[in-house]
């Protein structure tokens, strides 16, 4: 941290001021002038929270994507299809059993198995040919999309939120002060907060697994140089299969999350593929913390954009990507 400040004093100052301004916007009671210029604070706070929770969802999708790319150099453009498939599996299970938790487990396992099948049946055969692998994933995504359209039709599906999590919760953020002097606090859907906490927990668990365990050490070594790792006697193919299973499973779980607090339908696969692409381009390919940072940035940009400049919201996200590519093409938190 101090090194960063020493190397880029001006950028650090700008960053600090921006963070301070953002914190002030979130915590302070807005003066009337600001409310006139900028709209109500409640709208702003909701957009910020929606952005962060959406970022949590994007992180779940993109972390699997970035993990697979980091280790196998495989740009899995069928990742959006895995997300959508997870959503459908979760929906089917939750309708059949009525259990939300069970739908998560089922989606994780089934989509992970699909990932294993993809790795063993297809990608292992064309290993080391990046572009061909990517084209195969494009072909697979077309086939998956059409098969899912066949099976589930073009309808919207939404998974029932469990009763315990229905309803709003009051957060300790003042949105306005009534004329009587009484503070109004932000009301926010409970289920979104639960999902946000869950994705943070998953993120931290992944970081710990990668940085503190033996398996994680092998994976990190594989990211750096898989040939040498294989030469050291590690069964690299097994590691590939495991990582692909984990990445696909995470996408499947994210599908259940997405189906719960939004909805799923054909076309969502491309939306989440785009989100994953932008998130990892911004955050840095192959980096889990990068995926987290990128996901929050993209989520916030999307939500704040759609509140304040509705017809140009996507441009904001896109401009951020352009800016990152122009300044730091390898991504904000890329290791190398």
């Amino acid at each position: 941290m101090t090194k960063l400040i020493e190397r880029h004093p001006i950028w650090s100052l700008i960053l600090l001021i921006a963070i301070a301004a953002a914190l002030w916007l979130i915590f302070a009671t807005w003066p009337p002038g600001l409310e006139e210029a900028f709209g109500r604070k409640k709208v702003f706070l909701s957009a910020v929270f929606n952005g962060i929770t959406l970022g949590g969802l994007y992180f779940l999708v993109a972390s699997g994507f970035t993990l697979i790319f980091g280790l196998m150099r495989n740009v899995n453009l069928a990742h959006g299809s895995l997300y959508l498939f997870g959503g459908y599996v979760g929906y089917a299970v939750s309708v059949a059993t009525g259990s939300w938790i069970l739908s998560f487990i089922a989606a994780f396992i089934i989509v992970a198995l699909v990932g294993v099948a993809m790795q063993i049946l297809v990608f292992r055969r064309i290993e080391g040919q990046d572009l061909r692998q990517t084209m195969v994933t494009i072909g697979l995504s077309i086939v998956f999309a059409d098969l899912m359209l066949w099976a589930f039709g073009g309808d919207f599906y939404q998974i029932q939120t469990p009763h315990a999590l229905v309803g709003p919760i009051e957060l300790p953020f003042v949105t306005a002060v009534k004329s009587s002097g009484e503070a109004v606090y932000l009301q926010y859907p409970m289920v979104r907060l639960v999902i946000l906490v869950a994705s943070i927990v998953i993120g931290i668990a992944m970081w710990l697994a990668l940085n503190r365990t033996r398996i994680g050490m092998i994976v990190r070594a594989g990211v750096d140089d898989r040939d040498i790792l294989a030469a050291m006697g590690v069964r690299i193919q097994l590691v590939f299969v495991l990582v692909f299973a984990l990445g696909a499973g995470l996408a499947g779980m994210a599908g259940v999350v997405g189906a719960t607090f939004q909805s799923i339908s054909p076309g969502e696969d491309i939306r989440f593929l785009l989100a994953s692409l932008v998130v990892v381009i911004i955050g840095g390919m192959g980096s889990i913390p990068g995926a987290a940072l990128g996901a929050v940035i993209v989520g916030l940009a999307e939500q704040l954009g759609s509140v304040y400049i509705p017809t140009y919201a996507i441009v904001v996200t896109f401009l951020i990507m352009v800016l990152v590519l122009a300044v730091r093409p390898q991504g904000l938190l890329a290791g190398r």
Binding site: L131, G139, L140, D146, W150
Partner: protein, 360 residues
């Protein structure tokens, strides 16, 4: 560096990825090429209106757009998924600058002003996009261009001021001068044919110029080319500029063909269709995209009847396309053209001229 070198379809045999020439000198003495030319010219005598425009016209239009991708991928080693987006932008700009049924959006410029302007804007867009994409290398290109393509799709969906949201722009006015309605079937077919031949010729010529040869050098070994004093990124961006121009021409033809444009025309699926067309046809030769486009259009038009006739659900066209694409990518990375050349090469074993033969 290693990313770029691994990013080609046949990393084990770089010399065989694409021959330096598109249309070789011997092709002019090739009876098949002459026969094809004659057939294309007298097509209006053979085919009725439906076949002329819906099959052959559409094939040539899609072929032009896919040709721009083939040029980038085959000679530049850059697989760009935004070629259809560039074409779509050219189409949208034709609609916005020219005249259409949406009078509140269209500026109503005459076609001779709107069309060059649309091409210029689309080329500029593609060049800037290319300049962004060459900031990173190899496999990242596909991601960045896919991100650009899908961002443009969502933007056209969201934006009502310029792009009229998801309804798009309808009843676009097509050129009408010298007493000829250029959108009538037969004149329009010749317009398409002329543009397609021009683009094909331009690509075939360009790859033999010093620029084209340098571009292929950049594809095969960017580091060595940089050491030789070539500006690697400038060559790549220039390739994007040329490809964008070709794609923009295709986009103009496309919007004149359908007389309407909507976000559906620039969707991610459509963008991927262009990749499928180029790869299935073969990205090693300029003729590949046109072959791919013909197969694609025939499949798209007749799959429904065919599938119903043999007792399947007629809506599974994309499944068939996806599976076909998978088969081609897995078993013949250089597409139909590659299959055909291998087949021909087997027949003429031992007769191939030195340097002219391809190692299948």
């Amino acid at each position: 560096m290693s990313i770029t070198q691994n990013a080609r379809l046949q990393p084990d045999n770089p010399a065989a990825v694409a021959p330096a020439t598109g249309l070789t000198r011997t092709d002019f003495g090739n009876p098949a090429a002459w026969a094809l030319a004659v057939i294309l010219i007298i097509m209006p005598l053979i085919a009725n209106g439906f076949f002329l425009i819906e099959i052959f016209g559409t094939t040539l239009i899609l072929g032009v757009v896919a040709l721009s991708l083939m040029f980038l991928a085959g000679y530049g080693g850059m697989v760009s998924l935004m070629q259809l987006t560039i074409a779509g932008l050219a189409g949208y700009m034709t609609a916005v600058l020219g005249a259409s049924g949406n009078a509140n959006i269209s500026l109503g410029w005459p076609w001779w002003l709107a069309t060059p302007m649309a091409i210029a804007l689309a080329t500029l867009f593609g060049t800037v996009g290319g300049a962004l994409a060459v900031r990173t290398e190899g496999i990242y290109t596909i991601m960045i261009t896919l991100a650009i393509a899908s961002a443009f799709y969502y933007f056209t969906n969201q934006n009502w001021v310029i792009f009229n949201g998801h309804t798009g722009i309808n009843s676009i006015v097509t050129p009408h001068f010298w007493g000829v309605d250029w959108r009538a079937d037969i004149p329009f077919y010749y317009v398409i044919l002329a543009v397609a031949v021009l683009c094909f010729g331009a690509v075939s010529y360009l790859v033999r110029t010093p620029f084209g040869l340098a571009l292929q050098g950049v594809r095969d070994n960017p580091r060595r080319m940089a050491a030789l004093g070539f500006n690697v990124n400038a060559h790549r961006v220039a390739a994007y500029a040329f490809a964008s121009f070709v794609a923009a021409l295709g986009g103009i033809l496309q919007v004149w063909n359908y007389r309407q444009i909507s976000p559906g025309s620039v969707g991610v699926e459509r963008a991927i269709d262009i990749l499928i067309i180029a790869v299935v046809g073969g990205i090693t030769r300029p003729i590949g995209p046109f072959i791919g486009a013909l197969i694609f259009v025939l499949l798209r038009t007749f799959t429904l009847d065919f599938l119903v006739a043999i007792g399947f659900d007629g809506n599974r066209f994309r499944l068939l396309i996806g599976l076909g694409f998978l088969v081609i990518v897995l078993f013949s990375p250089d597409g139909i053209v590659g299959l055909w050349e291998r087949w021909r090469g087997r027949g003429e074993q031992g007769q191939t001229q030195p340097g002219g033969g391809r190692h299948g």
